[in-house]
Protein backbone atom coordinates (compact mmCIF):
# COMPACT_ATOMS: atom_id res chain seq x y z
CA UNK A 1 0.00 0.00 0.00
CA UNK A 2 2.95 2.27 0.54
CA UNK A 3 3.72 1.37 -3.05
CA UNK A 4 0.13 1.89 -4.11
CA UNK A 5 -0.25 5.17 -2.32
CA UNK A 6 2.96 6.50 -3.81
CA UNK A 7 1.97 5.76 -7.37
CA UNK A 8 -1.55 7.05 -6.85
CA UNK A 9 -0.42 10.27 -5.29
CA UNK A 10 1.92 10.52 -8.22
CA UNK A 11 -0.93 9.97 -10.64
CA UNK A 12 -2.90 12.82 -9.16
CA UNK A 13 -0.16 15.07 -10.41
CA UNK A 14 1.02 15.02 -6.87
CA UNK A 15 3.89 13.60 -4.86
CA UNK A 16 7.27 14.94 -4.05
CA UNK A 17 8.93 16.17 -7.14
CA UNK A 18 6.01 17.10 -9.34
CA UNK A 19 5.74 20.63 -10.58
CA UNK A 20 3.43 21.43 -13.45
CA UNK A 21 3.30 18.19 -15.28
CA UNK A 22 2.43 19.76 -18.59
CA UNK A 23 0.51 17.87 -21.21
CA UNK A 24 -1.22 14.74 -20.19
CA UNK A 25 -1.69 15.54 -16.55
CA UNK A 26 -5.41 15.14 -16.74
CA UNK A 27 -6.53 16.17 -13.30
CA UNK A 28 -9.35 18.28 -14.63
CA UNK A 29 -9.47 22.04 -14.43
CA UNK A 30 -6.51 23.45 -12.49
CA UNK A 31 -4.81 26.82 -12.33
CA UNK A 32 -1.68 26.74 -14.45
CA UNK A 33 0.38 28.49 -11.81
CA UNK A 34 3.35 26.28 -11.06
CA UNK A 35 6.39 27.02 -8.90
CA UNK A 36 8.70 29.97 -9.55
CA UNK A 37 12.06 29.60 -11.32
CA UNK A 38 14.05 29.10 -8.12
CA UNK A 39 11.62 26.51 -6.82
CA UNK A 40 11.62 24.76 -10.19
CA UNK A 41 15.40 24.59 -10.18
CA UNK A 42 15.38 23.16 -6.67
CA UNK A 43 12.69 20.61 -7.57
CA UNK A 44 14.59 19.50 -10.67
CA UNK A 45 17.67 18.93 -8.55
CA UNK A 46 15.61 17.13 -5.91
CA UNK A 47 14.01 14.81 -8.45
CA UNK A 48 17.28 14.12 -10.25
CA UNK A 49 18.94 13.25 -6.95
CA UNK A 50 16.08 10.94 -6.01
CA UNK A 51 16.11 9.26 -9.42
CA UNK A 52 19.84 8.74 -9.02
CA UNK A 53 19.39 7.44 -5.50
CA UNK A 54 16.90 4.79 -6.48
CA UNK A 55 19.10 3.85 -9.46
CA UNK A 56 21.90 3.28 -6.98
CA UNK A 57 19.59 0.96 -5.08
CA UNK A 58 18.63 -0.84 -8.29
CA UNK A 59 22.24 -1.28 -9.32
CA UNK A 60 23.12 -2.36 -5.80
CA UNK A 61 20.50 -5.10 -5.94
CA UNK A 62 21.73 -6.38 -9.30
CA UNK A 63 25.38 -6.39 -8.24
CA UNK A 64 24.59 -8.15 -4.97
CA UNK A 65 22.56 -10.76 -6.80
CA UNK A 66 25.37 -11.41 -9.25
CA UNK A 67 27.95 -11.58 -6.47
CA UNK A 68 25.94 -13.87 -4.21
CA UNK A 69 24.42 -16.00 -6.92
CA UNK A 70 21.04 -15.97 -5.13
CA UNK A 71 18.26 -13.49 -4.49
CA UNK A 72 18.02 -14.17 -0.76
CA UNK A 73 19.05 -11.60 1.84
CA UNK A 74 19.86 -8.86 -0.67
CA UNK A 75 18.39 -6.29 1.76
CA UNK A 76 21.71 -5.93 3.57
CA UNK A 77 23.48 -4.75 0.42
CA UNK A 78 21.16 -1.81 -0.14
CA UNK A 79 20.03 -1.11 3.41
CA UNK A 80 21.77 2.24 3.78
CA UNK A 81 20.80 3.92 0.49
CA UNK A 82 17.26 2.54 0.88
CA UNK A 83 16.91 4.12 4.29
CA UNK A 84 18.51 7.35 3.15
CA UNK A 85 16.51 7.95 0.01
CA UNK A 86 13.17 6.69 1.26
CA UNK A 87 13.47 8.80 4.41
CA UNK A 88 14.56 11.74 2.28
CA UNK A 89 11.14 11.59 0.64
CA UNK A 90 9.82 13.27 3.79
CA UNK A 91 10.91 16.47 2.10
CA UNK A 92 8.01 15.97 -0.28
CA UNK A 93 5.61 16.72 2.55
CA UNK A 94 7.43 20.00 3.03
CA UNK A 95 7.20 20.77 -0.67
CA UNK A 96 3.41 20.46 -0.52
CA UNK A 97 3.21 22.43 2.71
CA UNK A 98 5.10 25.40 1.28
CA UNK A 99 3.19 25.17 -1.98
CA UNK A 100 5.89 24.52 -4.53
CA UNK A 101 4.20 21.24 -5.33
CA UNK A 102 0.45 21.37 -5.95
CA UNK A 103 -0.54 18.30 -3.98
CA UNK A 104 -2.47 17.65 -0.83
CA UNK A 105 -0.26 17.64 2.26
CA UNK A 106 -2.47 15.01 3.80
CA UNK A 107 -2.25 12.59 0.89
CA UNK A 108 1.49 13.03 0.51
CA UNK A 109 2.04 12.61 4.24
CA UNK A 110 0.04 9.42 4.24
CA UNK A 111 2.00 8.04 1.33
CA UNK A 112 5.47 8.94 2.61
CA UNK A 113 4.76 8.00 6.21
CA UNK A 114 3.54 4.55 5.22
CA UNK A 115 6.81 3.94 3.37
CA UNK A 116 8.90 5.29 6.23
CA UNK A 117 6.89 3.10 8.60
CA UNK A 118 7.68 -0.06 6.63
CA UNK A 119 11.38 0.81 6.48
CA UNK A 120 11.97 1.86 10.08
CA UNK A 121 9.16 0.55 12.27
CA UNK A 122 9.03 -2.88 10.67
CA UNK A 123 12.09 -3.85 8.64
CA UNK A 124 14.70 -1.99 10.67
CA UNK A 125 13.12 -2.66 14.05
CA UNK A 126 12.51 -6.37 13.62
CA UNK A 127 15.92 -7.66 12.55
CA UNK A 128 14.63 -11.17 12.01
CA UNK A 129 12.57 -10.17 8.95
CA UNK A 130 15.48 -8.59 7.12
CA UNK A 131 16.40 -11.90 5.56
CA UNK A 132 12.86 -12.57 4.36
CA UNK A 133 12.21 -12.74 0.62
CA UNK A 134 9.14 -10.55 1.06
CA UNK A 135 11.45 -7.62 1.74
CA UNK A 136 13.03 -8.06 -1.68
CA UNK A 137 9.56 -8.11 -3.19
CA UNK A 138 8.58 -4.66 -1.97
CA UNK A 139 12.07 -3.19 -2.42
CA UNK A 140 12.05 -4.13 -6.10
CA UNK A 141 8.51 -2.79 -6.54
CA UNK A 142 9.38 0.48 -4.83
CA UNK A 143 12.68 0.84 -6.70
CA UNK A 144 11.16 0.52 -10.16
CA UNK A 145 8.20 2.72 -9.23
CA UNK A 146 10.36 5.46 -7.78
CA UNK A 147 12.86 5.55 -10.62
CA UNK A 148 10.00 6.07 -13.04
CA UNK A 149 8.12 8.50 -10.79
CA UNK A 150 11.06 10.77 -10.09
CA UNK A 151 12.18 10.83 -13.72
CA UNK A 152 8.57 11.62 -14.67
CA UNK A 153 8.67 14.65 -12.41
CA UNK A 154 12.09 15.70 -13.65
CA UNK A 155 10.99 15.66 -17.26
CA UNK A 156 7.67 17.31 -16.47
CA UNK A 157 9.40 20.17 -14.72
CA UNK A 158 11.58 20.62 -17.79
CA UNK A 159 8.48 20.47 -19.99
CA UNK A 160 9.86 17.61 -21.98
CA UNK A 161 8.10 14.42 -20.99
CA UNK A 162 8.85 11.41 -23.19
CA UNK A 163 5.75 9.36 -23.80
CA UNK A 164 7.63 6.26 -22.71
CA UNK A 165 8.01 7.59 -19.18
CA UNK A 166 4.38 8.59 -18.97
CA UNK A 167 3.34 5.19 -20.32
CA UNK A 168 5.60 3.42 -17.87
CA UNK A 169 4.26 5.33 -14.88
CA UNK A 170 0.67 4.65 -15.77
CA UNK A 171 1.11 1.04 -16.84
CA UNK A 172 3.75 -0.70 -14.76
CA UNK A 173 1.79 -0.05 -11.59
CA UNK A 174 -0.60 -2.76 -12.71
CA UNK A 175 2.04 -5.30 -11.72
CA UNK A 176 4.14 -3.26 -9.29
CA UNK A 177 1.26 -2.34 -6.96
CA UNK A 178 0.15 -5.86 -6.12
CA UNK A 179 3.78 -6.89 -5.95
CA UNK A 180 4.66 -4.14 -3.50
CA UNK A 181 1.56 -4.69 -1.41
CA UNK A 182 2.25 -8.41 -1.19
CA UNK A 183 5.81 -7.77 -0.11
CA UNK A 184 4.69 -5.29 2.53
CA UNK A 185 1.96 -7.49 3.96
CA UNK A 186 4.15 -10.60 4.05
CA UNK A 187 6.90 -8.65 5.81
CA UNK A 188 4.56 -7.27 8.45
CA UNK A 189 3.11 -10.74 8.94
CA UNK A 190 6.59 -12.22 9.32
CA UNK A 191 7.42 -9.62 11.96
CA UNK A 192 4.42 -10.41 14.15
CA UNK A 193 5.77 -13.29 16.26
CA UNK A 194 8.96 -11.38 17.04
CA UNK A 195 7.01 -8.30 18.05
CA UNK A 196 4.85 -10.40 20.35
CA UNK A 197 7.85 -12.14 21.86
CA UNK A 198 9.85 -8.98 22.56
CA UNK A 199 6.89 -6.79 23.47
CA UNK A 200 8.32 -4.36 20.92
CA UNK A 201 7.08 -0.74 21.19
CA UNK A 202 4.40 -1.87 23.59
CA UNK A 203 3.41 -0.57 27.00
CA UNK A 204 0.96 -2.20 29.36
CA UNK A 205 -1.00 -1.23 32.47
CA UNK A 206 -0.49 -0.26 35.18
CA UNK A 207 1.69 2.80 34.60
CA UNK A 208 1.54 6.40 35.73
CA UNK A 209 0.31 7.71 32.37
CA UNK A 210 -2.66 5.37 32.37
CA UNK A 211 -2.01 4.39 28.82
CA UNK A 212 -1.39 1.17 26.96
CA UNK A 213 -0.30 0.29 23.47
CA UNK A 214 -0.01 -3.10 21.86
CA UNK A 215 2.21 -2.89 18.80
CA UNK A 216 1.24 -6.41 17.77
CA UNK A 217 -2.46 -5.48 17.61
CA UNK A 218 -1.50 -2.23 15.89
CA UNK A 219 0.33 -4.10 13.13
CA UNK A 220 -2.67 -6.35 12.63
CA UNK A 221 -4.88 -3.28 12.29
CA UNK A 222 -2.47 -1.91 9.71
CA UNK A 223 -2.69 -5.12 7.73
CA UNK A 224 -6.47 -5.04 7.86
CA UNK A 225 -6.48 -1.44 6.65
CA UNK A 226 -4.95 -2.59 3.38
CA UNK A 227 -8.26 -4.26 2.55
CA UNK A 228 -10.30 -1.09 2.06
CA UNK A 229 -7.44 1.17 1.03
CA UNK A 230 -5.56 -0.82 -1.59
CA UNK A 231 -8.50 -1.45 -4.00
CA UNK A 232 -9.43 2.23 -3.88
CA UNK A 233 -5.93 3.35 -4.79
CA UNK A 234 -5.53 0.66 -7.40
CA UNK A 235 -8.75 1.39 -9.23
CA UNK A 236 -8.13 5.10 -9.04
CA UNK A 237 -4.86 4.48 -10.88
CA UNK A 238 -6.63 2.35 -13.48
CA UNK A 239 -9.11 5.17 -13.99
CA UNK A 240 -6.32 7.73 -14.27
CA UNK A 241 -4.56 5.50 -16.77
CA UNK A 242 -7.56 5.41 -19.05
CA UNK A 243 -8.00 9.15 -18.84
CA UNK A 244 -4.39 10.12 -19.34
CA UNK A 245 -3.20 7.61 -21.89
CA UNK A 246 -6.24 7.95 -24.13
CA UNK A 247 -6.10 11.74 -23.80
CA UNK A 248 -2.59 11.71 -25.18
CA UNK A 249 -3.61 9.38 -27.98
CA UNK A 250 -6.18 11.95 -29.11
CA UNK A 251 -3.65 14.72 -28.88
CA UNK A 252 -1.24 12.75 -31.01
CA UNK A 253 -3.92 12.30 -33.67
CA UNK A 254 -4.11 16.04 -34.15
CA UNK A 255 -0.41 16.61 -34.36
Amino acid sequence: MAAAAAATAAAKGNGGGGGRAGAGDASGTRKKKGPGPLATAYLVIYNVVMTAGWLVIAVGLVRAYLAKGSYHSLYYSIEKPLKFFQTGALLEILHCAIGIVPSSVVLTSFQVMSRVFLIWAVTHSVKEVQSEDSVLLFVIAWTITEIIRYSFYTFSLLNHLPYLIKWARYTLFIVLYPMGVSGELLTIYAALPFVRQAGLYSISLPNKYNFSFDYYAFLILIMISYIPIFPQLYFHMIHQRRKILSHTEEHKKFE
Partner: protein, 333 residues
Protein backbone atom coordinates in the same frame (compact mmCIF):
# COMPACT_ATOMS: atom_id res chain seq x y z
CA UNK B 1 -46.89 48.13 -16.72
CA UNK B 2 -48.43 46.32 -19.66
CA UNK B 3 -48.63 42.58 -19.80
CA UNK B 4 -46.67 41.59 -22.86
CA UNK B 5 -46.39 38.09 -24.15
CA UNK B 6 -42.60 37.63 -24.28
CA UNK B 7 -40.78 35.52 -26.82
CA UNK B 8 -39.58 33.24 -24.10
CA UNK B 9 -42.07 30.69 -22.94
CA UNK B 10 -42.55 30.09 -19.30
CA UNK B 11 -41.44 26.48 -19.54
CA UNK B 12 -37.78 25.65 -19.25
CA UNK B 13 -36.12 26.15 -22.62
CA UNK B 14 -33.67 23.26 -22.39
CA UNK B 15 -35.37 20.37 -24.08
CA UNK B 16 -33.64 17.81 -21.93
CA UNK B 17 -34.46 19.53 -18.69
CA UNK B 18 -37.63 18.31 -17.00
CA UNK B 19 -38.19 21.58 -15.10
CA UNK B 20 -41.59 23.00 -15.62
CA UNK B 21 -42.22 26.24 -13.79
CA UNK B 22 -45.91 26.96 -13.58
CA UNK B 23 -45.77 30.75 -13.68
CA UNK B 24 -47.67 32.93 -16.15
CA UNK B 25 -45.66 35.23 -18.38
CA UNK B 26 -45.28 38.85 -17.34
CA UNK B 27 -42.76 41.70 -17.38
CA UNK B 28 -41.01 40.88 -14.15
CA UNK B 29 -37.36 40.08 -13.55
CA UNK B 30 -36.62 36.62 -14.80
CA UNK B 31 -34.44 34.11 -13.10
CA UNK B 32 -32.75 31.23 -14.79
CA UNK B 33 -31.01 28.60 -12.74
CA UNK B 34 -28.16 26.66 -14.31
CA UNK B 35 -26.16 23.78 -12.98
CA UNK B 36 -22.80 25.19 -11.88
CA UNK B 37 -20.85 22.23 -13.27
CA UNK B 38 -22.68 21.30 -16.47
CA UNK B 39 -24.32 24.68 -17.20
CA UNK B 40 -27.49 22.76 -17.93
CA UNK B 41 -30.62 24.89 -17.61
CA UNK B 42 -32.44 23.52 -14.62
CA UNK B 43 -35.23 26.01 -14.16
CA UNK B 44 -36.58 29.20 -15.58
CA UNK B 45 -38.63 31.51 -13.38
CA UNK B 46 -40.21 34.32 -15.29
CA UNK B 47 -42.43 36.02 -12.81
CA UNK B 48 -40.25 36.85 -9.87
CA UNK B 49 -40.97 39.65 -7.46
CA UNK B 50 -38.07 42.13 -7.62
CA UNK B 51 -37.82 42.13 -3.85
CA UNK B 52 -37.85 38.37 -3.66
CA UNK B 53 -35.15 36.93 -1.46
CA UNK B 54 -32.84 34.08 -2.36
CA UNK B 55 -34.74 32.01 0.19
CA UNK B 56 -37.93 32.53 -1.77
CA UNK B 57 -36.22 31.64 -5.04
CA UNK B 58 -34.91 28.48 -3.41
CA UNK B 59 -38.45 27.57 -2.46
CA UNK B 60 -39.62 28.11 -6.03
CA UNK B 61 -36.78 25.97 -7.31
CA UNK B 62 -37.72 23.18 -4.92
CA UNK B 63 -41.19 23.07 -6.44
CA UNK B 64 -39.73 21.94 -9.75
CA UNK B 65 -36.99 19.77 -8.26
CA UNK B 66 -38.42 18.44 -5.00
CA UNK B 67 -35.36 16.30 -4.28
CA UNK B 68 -33.35 19.51 -3.77
CA UNK B 69 -34.91 21.05 -0.69
CA UNK B 70 -33.74 24.61 0.06
CA UNK B 71 -31.18 23.59 2.70
CA UNK B 72 -29.15 21.66 0.15
CA UNK B 73 -29.20 24.36 -2.51
CA UNK B 74 -26.25 26.64 -3.05
CA UNK B 75 -27.07 29.44 -5.46
CA UNK B 76 -24.40 31.79 -6.66
CA UNK B 77 -23.88 34.47 -9.29
CA UNK B 78 -20.70 32.85 -10.51
CA UNK B 79 -20.25 29.09 -10.87
CA UNK B 80 -17.08 29.23 -8.80
CA UNK B 81 -18.18 32.09 -6.58
CA UNK B 82 -19.49 32.29 -3.08
CA UNK B 83 -22.94 31.14 -2.13
CA UNK B 84 -25.62 33.80 -1.97
CA UNK B 85 -27.26 34.26 1.39
CA UNK B 86 -30.90 33.47 1.98
CA UNK B 87 -31.56 37.07 3.04
CA UNK B 88 -30.10 38.60 -0.15
CA UNK B 89 -32.70 40.41 -2.21
CA UNK B 90 -32.80 39.72 -5.94
CA UNK B 91 -33.16 43.35 -6.90
CA UNK B 92 -30.07 44.36 -4.92
CA UNK B 93 -27.82 41.85 -6.69
CA UNK B 94 -25.73 42.87 -9.71
CA UNK B 95 -27.99 41.17 -12.25
CA UNK B 96 -29.83 42.39 -15.31
CA UNK B 97 -33.49 41.75 -16.10
CA UNK B 98 -32.64 38.09 -16.47
CA UNK B 99 -30.74 36.90 -13.46
CA UNK B 100 -28.56 33.87 -14.04
CA UNK B 101 -27.96 31.87 -10.93
CA UNK B 102 -25.72 28.83 -10.69
CA UNK B 103 -26.81 25.89 -8.60
CA UNK B 104 -24.70 23.48 -6.64
CA UNK B 105 -26.11 20.56 -4.69
CA UNK B 106 -24.69 20.61 -1.18
CA UNK B 107 -25.73 17.03 -0.64
CA UNK B 108 -28.04 15.61 1.98
CA UNK B 109 -28.28 17.92 4.96
CA UNK B 110 -28.90 17.36 8.61
CA UNK B 111 -29.79 19.94 11.22
CA UNK B 112 -27.04 21.28 13.46
CA UNK B 113 -29.14 20.62 16.54
CA UNK B 114 -29.52 16.95 15.61
CA UNK B 115 -25.80 16.56 15.05
CA UNK B 116 -24.88 18.26 18.31
CA UNK B 117 -27.35 16.27 20.37
CA UNK B 118 -26.18 12.98 18.90
CA UNK B 119 -22.48 13.69 19.16
CA UNK B 120 -22.79 14.83 22.80
CA UNK B 121 -25.24 12.20 24.05
CA UNK B 122 -22.82 9.48 22.94
CA UNK B 123 -19.89 10.38 25.21
CA UNK B 124 -22.22 10.89 28.14
CA UNK B 125 -23.64 7.40 27.79
CA UNK B 126 -20.44 5.64 26.71
CA UNK B 127 -18.36 6.95 29.60
CA UNK B 128 -20.93 5.60 32.05
CA UNK B 129 -20.70 2.15 30.48
CA UNK B 130 -17.02 2.10 31.41
CA UNK B 131 -17.57 3.75 34.79
CA UNK B 132 -20.03 1.09 35.85
CA UNK B 133 -17.74 -1.58 34.40
CA UNK B 134 -20.41 -3.13 32.28
CA UNK B 135 -19.53 -6.74 31.29
CA UNK B 136 -17.18 -7.57 28.38
CA UNK B 137 -15.03 -4.47 28.79
CA UNK B 138 -12.70 -5.48 31.60
CA UNK B 139 -12.19 -9.01 32.90
CA UNK B 140 -15.31 -10.78 34.22
CA UNK B 141 -14.17 -10.56 37.81
CA UNK B 142 -14.50 -6.75 37.54
CA UNK B 143 -18.07 -6.67 36.22
CA UNK B 144 -20.08 -3.95 37.93
CA UNK B 145 -17.36 -3.31 40.49
CA UNK B 146 -16.49 0.19 41.59
CA UNK B 147 -13.11 1.92 41.66
CA UNK B 148 -11.55 2.55 45.07
CA UNK B 149 -10.04 5.86 43.92
CA UNK B 150 -11.95 9.06 44.68
CA UNK B 151 -10.54 10.75 41.61
CA UNK B 152 -12.22 8.18 39.36
CA UNK B 153 -15.65 9.09 40.77
CA UNK B 154 -14.82 12.76 40.52
CA UNK B 155 -13.74 12.34 36.91
CA UNK B 156 -17.05 10.68 36.06
CA UNK B 157 -18.94 13.58 37.60
CA UNK B 158 -16.86 16.13 35.69
CA UNK B 159 -17.08 14.34 32.35
CA UNK B 160 -20.82 13.78 32.69
CA UNK B 161 -21.41 17.34 33.83
CA UNK B 162 -19.49 18.60 30.81
CA UNK B 163 -21.63 16.76 28.32
CA UNK B 164 -24.91 17.47 30.10
CA UNK B 165 -23.94 21.13 29.98
CA UNK B 166 -23.26 20.84 26.26
CA UNK B 167 -26.61 19.15 25.61
CA UNK B 168 -28.51 21.80 27.56
CA UNK B 169 -26.64 24.58 25.81
CA UNK B 170 -27.52 23.07 22.44
CA UNK B 171 -31.18 22.99 23.37
CA UNK B 172 -31.51 26.31 25.21
CA UNK B 173 -28.55 28.59 24.70
CA UNK B 174 -26.94 28.47 21.29
CA UNK B 175 -28.30 30.48 18.37
CA UNK B 176 -27.04 28.83 15.21
CA UNK B 177 -26.19 30.77 12.05
CA UNK B 178 -26.83 27.80 9.87
CA UNK B 179 -29.74 25.41 10.13
CA UNK B 180 -28.00 22.46 8.54
CA UNK B 181 -24.69 20.81 7.72
CA UNK B 182 -23.80 18.00 5.30
CA UNK B 183 -25.08 14.61 6.42
CA UNK B 184 -21.66 12.95 6.36
CA UNK B 185 -20.57 15.24 9.17
CA UNK B 186 -22.62 13.35 11.70
CA UNK B 187 -20.63 10.19 11.04
CA UNK B 188 -17.33 11.98 11.14
CA UNK B 189 -18.19 13.95 14.30
CA UNK B 190 -19.69 11.03 16.18
CA UNK B 191 -16.70 8.83 15.41
CA UNK B 192 -14.45 11.53 16.87
CA UNK B 193 -16.44 12.24 20.04
CA UNK B 194 -17.61 8.72 20.75
CA UNK B 195 -14.25 7.17 19.89
CA UNK B 196 -12.25 9.43 22.15
CA UNK B 197 -14.80 9.15 24.96
CA UNK B 198 -14.50 5.36 24.89
CA UNK B 199 -10.72 5.50 24.73
CA UNK B 200 -10.43 7.89 27.70
CA UNK B 201 -13.10 6.18 29.74
CA UNK B 202 -11.44 2.79 29.26
CA UNK B 203 -8.27 3.88 31.04
CA UNK B 204 -9.72 6.13 33.72
CA UNK B 205 -12.14 3.43 34.86
CA UNK B 206 -9.70 0.56 34.43
CA UNK B 207 -9.11 -1.71 37.45
CA UNK B 208 -5.38 -1.03 37.03
CA UNK B 209 -5.81 2.76 36.93
CA UNK B 210 -2.99 4.67 38.66
CA UNK B 211 -4.11 7.83 40.51
CA UNK B 212 -2.21 11.10 39.97
CA UNK B 213 1.40 11.28 41.16
CA UNK B 214 0.87 14.31 43.44
CA UNK B 215 -2.31 12.95 44.95
CA UNK B 216 -5.10 15.09 46.35
CA UNK B 217 -3.18 18.33 45.74
CA UNK B 218 -3.02 17.63 42.03
CA UNK B 219 -6.67 16.64 41.87
CA UNK B 220 -7.79 19.76 43.77
CA UNK B 221 -5.83 22.08 41.51
CA UNK B 222 -7.09 20.32 38.38
CA UNK B 223 -10.68 20.45 39.64
CA UNK B 224 -10.38 24.17 40.24
CA UNK B 225 -9.10 24.71 36.71
CA UNK B 226 -11.90 22.57 35.33
CA UNK B 227 -14.68 24.32 37.24
CA UNK B 228 -13.41 27.81 36.45
CA UNK B 229 -13.14 26.97 32.77
CA UNK B 230 -16.58 25.40 32.66
CA UNK B 231 -18.07 28.54 34.24
CA UNK B 232 -16.05 30.65 31.84
CA UNK B 233 -17.17 28.68 28.81
CA UNK B 234 -20.79 28.94 29.90
CA UNK B 235 -20.48 32.68 30.52
CA UNK B 236 -19.14 33.20 27.02
CA UNK B 237 -21.96 31.15 25.50
CA UNK B 238 -24.49 33.29 27.32
CA UNK B 239 -22.76 36.49 26.28
CA UNK B 240 -22.74 35.40 22.65
CA UNK B 241 -26.39 34.45 22.86
CA UNK B 242 -27.28 37.90 24.15
CA UNK B 243 -25.51 39.46 21.20
CA UNK B 244 -28.01 37.97 18.84
CA UNK B 245 -31.79 38.35 19.06
CA UNK B 246 -33.81 35.14 18.72
CA UNK B 247 -34.35 34.03 15.13
CA UNK B 248 -31.86 36.49 13.71
CA UNK B 249 -28.50 35.91 12.09
CA UNK B 250 -26.91 39.24 12.99
CA UNK B 251 -23.24 39.40 13.81
CA UNK B 252 -21.76 41.89 16.25
CA UNK B 253 -18.41 42.32 17.95
CA UNK B 254 -18.58 40.63 21.35
CA UNK B 255 -17.44 42.76 24.30
CA UNK B 256 -16.76 42.03 27.98
CA UNK B 257 -19.83 42.31 30.23
CA UNK B 258 -20.14 42.66 33.99
CA UNK B 259 -19.38 38.95 34.33
CA UNK B 260 -15.62 38.68 35.05
CA UNK B 261 -15.38 35.52 32.99
CA UNK B 262 -16.23 37.51 29.88
CA UNK B 263 -13.30 39.88 30.44
CA UNK B 264 -11.25 37.40 28.43
CA UNK B 265 -12.90 39.03 25.39
CA UNK B 266 -10.38 41.85 25.89
CA UNK B 267 -7.59 39.55 24.87
CA UNK B 268 -9.17 36.88 22.71
CA UNK B 269 -11.78 36.58 19.94
CA UNK B 270 -13.03 33.14 20.92
CA UNK B 271 -12.73 32.82 24.71
CA UNK B 272 -15.25 29.98 24.61
CA UNK B 273 -12.58 27.88 22.91
CA UNK B 274 -9.93 29.11 25.32
CA UNK B 275 -12.02 27.99 28.26
CA UNK B 276 -12.85 24.70 26.56
CA UNK B 277 -9.17 23.85 26.10
CA UNK B 278 -8.60 24.90 29.70
CA UNK B 279 -11.32 22.53 30.90
CA UNK B 280 -9.77 19.59 29.14
CA UNK B 281 -6.29 20.44 30.36
CA UNK B 282 -7.77 20.48 33.85
CA UNK B 283 -9.36 17.11 33.23
CA UNK B 284 -6.06 15.72 31.91
CA UNK B 285 -4.19 16.88 35.00
CA UNK B 286 -6.93 15.48 37.22
CA UNK B 287 -6.87 12.04 35.68
CA UNK B 288 -3.18 12.00 34.67
CA UNK B 289 -4.23 10.03 31.63
CA UNK B 290 -2.34 10.31 28.33
CA UNK B 291 -5.38 9.72 26.08
CA UNK B 292 -7.07 12.68 27.75
CA UNK B 293 -4.02 14.83 27.01
CA UNK B 294 -4.10 13.66 23.40
CA UNK B 295 -7.80 14.45 23.13
CA UNK B 296 -7.10 17.92 24.50
CA UNK B 297 -4.34 18.39 21.95
CA UNK B 298 -6.51 17.34 19.01
CA UNK B 299 -9.37 19.49 20.26
CA UNK B 300 -7.02 22.43 20.72
CA UNK B 301 -5.75 22.05 17.16
CA UNK B 302 -9.27 22.03 15.73
CA UNK B 303 -10.45 24.91 17.88
CA UNK B 304 -7.43 26.97 16.93
CA UNK B 305 -8.30 26.52 13.27
CA UNK B 306 -11.88 27.60 13.98
CA UNK B 307 -10.77 30.51 16.15
CA UNK B 308 -8.39 31.78 13.48
CA UNK B 309 -11.17 31.62 10.92
CA UNK B 310 -13.59 33.43 13.17
CA UNK B 311 -10.97 36.05 14.01
CA UNK B 312 -10.28 36.61 10.33
CA UNK B 313 -13.96 37.10 9.52
CA UNK B 314 -14.34 39.51 12.44
CA UNK B 315 -11.42 41.52 11.09
CA UNK B 316 -12.88 41.50 7.60
CA UNK B 317 -16.34 42.51 8.69
CA UNK B 318 -15.56 45.12 11.33
CA UNK B 319 -13.17 47.99 10.63
CA UNK B 320 -13.02 48.92 14.30
CA UNK B 321 -12.18 45.47 15.62
CA UNK B 322 -10.06 45.67 18.80
CA UNK B 323 -6.43 45.21 17.71
CA UNK B 324 -5.18 43.69 20.97
CA UNK B 325 -7.23 40.53 20.50
CA UNK B 326 -5.70 37.23 19.39
CA UNK B 327 -7.82 34.34 18.14
CA UNK B 328 -7.55 31.85 21.01
CA UNK B 329 -4.52 32.30 23.31
CA UNK B 330 -3.89 35.79 24.71
CA UNK B 331 -0.90 37.43 23.02
CA UNK B 332 0.25 34.20 21.44
CA UNK B 333 -2.10 32.47 19.03
Amino acid sequence: MSLLIPEKISLSSASSSPGRCPFPTAEYPEVEILDAKTREKLCFLDKVEPHATIAEIKNLFTKTHPQWYPARQSLRLDPKGKSLKDEDVLQKLPVGTTATLYFRDLGAQISWVTVFLTEYAGPLFIYLLFYFRVPFIYGHKYDFTSSRHTVVHLACICHSFHYVKRLLETLFVHRFSHGTMPLRNIFKNCTYYWGFAAWMAYYINHPLYTPPTYGAQQVKLALAIFVICQLGNFSIHMALRDLRPAGSKTRKIPYPTKNPFTWLFLLVSCPNYTYEVGSWIGFAIMTQCLPVALFSLVGFTQMTIWAKGKHRSYLKEFRDYPPLRMPIIPFLL
